[in-house]
Amino acid sequence: MLQVIKESFILFVACGVGGYSFKELNGFLKISCFQVVLGMVNYAGARAVTIYQKSHDLPLNNQWVFNIYILLECGLLLWAGYVYFNNKRAGRYIIAGFVIFLVIYVYQLSKQGFLLFANYAFLTEGIVTVSIYIFILFGSVVKRQPPRRIKPEFWLSLGLIMYFAGNVPYMGLVHYFQKLSADLNTLLFYFITDVLGNLRYLMAAISFWLYAKQ
C-alpha cells in the first residue's frame, strides 16, 4: 500500500488540485484534467491487474492496460490541443497527427498482438504530442500580455514535452530491455518513465492551481 502511495502520490495531488479547481479551469485545462484522472484510472487498473494475476498465479502482464490507455491519452491530449488553438488549420494538423498515431497503433498491435505494449505507437504519440505542445509552450512564453506573468499552460505543456521526449530513448528499446532483463527494465522504468511521469503530473497540478488562482 505504501508503495502504491509512494508511486502515485503526485498523481493523487494532480487529481486533487484538478478536481478542486475544475470549475474555474478553461476548456483546455478541463480536458487535461480529464487526462490526469485517466492516468490515475490507468495506474489503478494496471495495479489491479497485477494483483489479480499474482493472486491467481498467472503470468504477470499488464501491458495491454497501457495499450488501452495510450489510445485514450493521445485522444484526450490532442483534443485539448484542438480546444486550445480553436482554429480549423490547427485542427486539421491535429486530426492528421491522430490518424498517423492510429495507423501505427493498429499496425503494431496487429503485428505483435494486444498483450505486448505498443511502444512505437507510444513514440508516435510522443512525436505528435510534442509537436503540438511545443507551440502551446511557445505561445505561453512568447505571447504573454502585460503584466507578463507565465501562463498556467506553460507548466502543463513543459511537463508533457519533457515526459514524451525524455521517454523516447527508453521506450524505443523497452522490448529489448524486457528480453535482456525484466528487472533492469523495471528499474529503468522507475528511473526514467516514473520520474518523468511524476514531473509531468506535478507540472499539471501547478497549471491547475495557477489557473484557479488567477
Binding site: V141, P169, L184
Partner: protein
Amino acid sequence: MPNNNIFKAHFQMIDYDVVITIILTTLLILILIAGITISFFMVSRQRANQQIELTRARLKYEKELRKVEGELSEQLMQHFGQELHDNIGHLLTCLRLEVENRKLDNPQLCEVLKSADHYLEETSVQLRLLSRSLNTDYLANIGLNEAIQLEVDRQKNLKKFQIQWEHNYSRNEIDKDQELIIFRIFQEVVNNAIRHSSARNLCILLKDYPYFELIIKDDGCGFKVQETLDSLRSSGLRNIIKRSEIAKINCKIASSPGHGCTYILRKDQEKT
C-alpha cells in the same frame, strides 16, 4: 522496486554502454528541452524590449505631434487675433467715424443712430477683448492672472452666467509656456460650460500657495466623466487632458449628472 542485488547481477550481464547511453540520451533530451524553453524566454524578452522601444518611440512621436499641433494652433490664433485687431477693428473704427460724421452732418439723426452707435461700441470692446485672448504674445506678457481676468471680463460682457473670480497668484512656479497652455485649457473649460452645461454660475479660483491650483466649477447639468471620455464626442475633454499632460499639470475632472462639473488643475510638487 527491484533490489540493488538484482540490479547489480543483471548490470554485470548486460552491456553497460546501452544503459548509460539510454540514460544520457534522456538527460540530453531534457537539457535540450530546457534550452528550447530558455530560448523561448529570451525571444519573449527581446520581443518585450522591442515593444517597449516601439511604445517609447510612438509616445515621443505623439508628444512631438501634439507640440507641433499646439504651436500651429497658437500661431493660427495669433494670426486670427491680429487680423481681428488690425483689420476688423480698423473697419469698425472707420464705421464708427462714419456714424459720427453722419451725426455731425445731420443732427436730427442723433437719436436714430444712438442704438447703432451703442452696439458698435459694444462690438469694438468685445472684438478687442477677443483679439487679446487669442493673441499669444499678449497673453504671455500679461500673465495668467490678467489673461483670465480678460476672459472673465469678456464672459461678463456676454452675460452668459454669473462669474465668481478669486485669485491669489504671483507667477512663481509656472513658466510662460505652461501659463499659456493653462489659459487655453481654461478657455476650453469655459467654452464647454457655455455650450453644453447650461450653467448659471461659474466659480474660478486661482492660487499658487502652497502649490499652483486653478479650480473652475460650474453648476450646470454635469456628465459622466468616464463615459464621456470613452465616447467619440469628447474631443474637447480629451484635449484638456492632453494639454495638461504637455504642461505637466495634474488635471482632475469631477462631475456627475445634475451636479455640475469641477475642473482642478494642480501642479504637484513631485512634477516640478
